[in-house]
Symmetry: C2
Subunit: 309 residues, 2 copies
């Protein structure tokens, strides 16, 4: 890219001079002294290699080159104005994009209402709720592509990340067999169950599985998943068909069981086990107003469903 030799200040002085036909008047309008404007014009003429004004005793008269330059100079300054204005509009949430990360099943925790919250307050903005899966969201945070996110985490310890828990959500056992949900499910019973688990692509980092692994650690076994699927709705449907049981967040169970597995029921684990919903961002980051807005709204929505911390 060619580094331009002319400056916005020169163009401003040029336009003011053109319109007034006088360096003195231009200087007065711009709040500068007459020699300053004179110098700017001279510098501009020198760098362009052309004469822009004829000095004619009283006042100055634009040359035809100045006639040519004027509309271009106006366009430059107008573009600058637009640039500044558009940034301010983004700053004021009148326009622009607000990008925020959410855990994968945000749809079951008021994700659409969260977006509605934002759009109601700020009708002009675009909203991007990133949350295909927790791993990618975490990676986006780490790489700086995302500023902040609301995630389901199994631990608040994370290298270089600040994790602020805002709510906890019980993990419950669901089954089509009423006997198995008649009483709280112990680690031992869980370790012998036949389970269908969702989020198979990210099973290594899925917070539900990690939490279950911690629970089963004392039994010396891993969670015994018999079926692996991608999304929680499919898992619940399979539970309803009786192929397996599952462990899901309680809010998801309450929403999905009536719709997808009406014959199934749920029970707590013993001891109770919780997923944690937390605001996550890079340590040391100064959060933008947009991020703070999303954190505030998302926290409210989450705490209306899960248990506030």
């Amino acid at each position: 890219m060619v580094v331009s030799v002319l400056s916005l200040h020169q163009l401003t002085c040029f336009l003011a001079t053109y319109e007034h036909g006088s360096l003195t008047a231009a200087a007065e309008e711009l709040g500068y002294s007459q020699p300053s404007v004179s110098e700017q014009i001279r510098t501009l003429e020198k760098s362009l290699g052309v004469q822009l004004f004829r000095r004619v005793g009283r006042g100055v008269v634009p040359t035809t080159v100045a006639d040519t330059l004027r509309p271009h100079a106006e366009q430059v300054l107008a573009a600058v104005d637009e640039a500044q204005q558009s940034v301010q509009e983004v700053k004021n949430f009148e326009k622009g994009t607000i990008r925020f990360g959410m855990f994968g099943i945000a749809r079951l925790y008021g994700g659409s209402r969260l977006i509605a919250d934002v759009l109601t307050r700020y009708p002009g903005v675009r909203v991007e709720l990133i949350g295909q899966n927790s791993t990618e969201v975490f990676e986006d945070l780490r790489r700086g592509r995302l500023e902040a996110a609301m995630l389901a985490v199994s631990t608040v310890e994370s290298e270089g990340m600040t994790v602020t828990p805002v709510a906890r959500e019980e993990l419950v056992y669901i089954s089509a067999d009423p006997d198995r949900t008649a009483s709280p499910v112990t680690a031992h019973r869980l370790s012998t169950a036949s389970l269908v688990m969702a989020e198979t692509t990210y099973r290594a980092v899925d917070s539900t599985r990690i939490t279950l692994r911690q629970m089963l650690h004392e039994t010396g076994r891993n969670p015994p998943s018999r079926i692996e699927v991608e999304d929680i709705e499919t898992a619940v449907e399979l539970v309803g068909m009786g192929f397996a049981d599952s462990v899901v967040p309680k809010g998801a169970a309450q929403q999905l069981l009536p719709r997808l597995a009406p014959n199934a029921s749920w029970a707590s684990l013993r001891p109770r086990v919780y997923d944690t919903f937390a605001v996550v961002h890079r340590s040391g980051a100064i959060l933008s107003p947009a991020a703070r807005l999303m954190i505030e709204l998302a926290t409210k929505r989450i705490q209306a469903i899960a248990e506030p911390l």
Copy 2:
């Protein structure tokens, strides 16, 4: 007009940084040191009141505000480029307007061929040949609206103007009566003639009349115009009809008599009297290339018809 707080340099650094995702790489591209670019970005962020990049250990990542700013920044720099380019095009006679002053009857002295000369050499330019009348041209020169002109002058003395004669043109007596053009016309005969004179609106400053006044000064009489008209063609036609005689530049007589007054003929004055064609511009002016071009071409055309000096 609001004086902008941001600079083209900042926008250039911003774009380079945006494209590379790195201050170091941007600095390398722009030929600056890394801290310089870093400072520009920081200043820009501060003046806009927003964060444009998140610093993420290795490299920087644009925020959504930066996404918004980018197209505007590009437009600003593109407009600057266009401005510079258009000025250069005017400088190189590829575009723009060339404005030049000419005496009123330039049409009889190759005016259209002069314009053809310019357009042949520089097909892209606009040409404005200003010359409704000498007074206004002179006023335009004085006020700086015109840079230079080719005028018919009665004297080379003029306050604040540099007058450079390039050719002289004899003033001749024309008449439909062959007797009156059988021999050179003396001042005495001229003072008793019945004349039709053109350029009546500007009769006070018309160079032909001024020249005649000087010639008649010794006789103590003013030029005896019986009829006053605006344009020389009408005057010649009236001469052809026998209503009056006239005094016109020789080139005009040679061109107009056969066409408009075939029965009329011309004779020299005694002593011979001349109009002077001269290049006129403000004293002390540094002439632009465009003006020099017009002066060169107009001089050639005039000298091909009138007598070079």
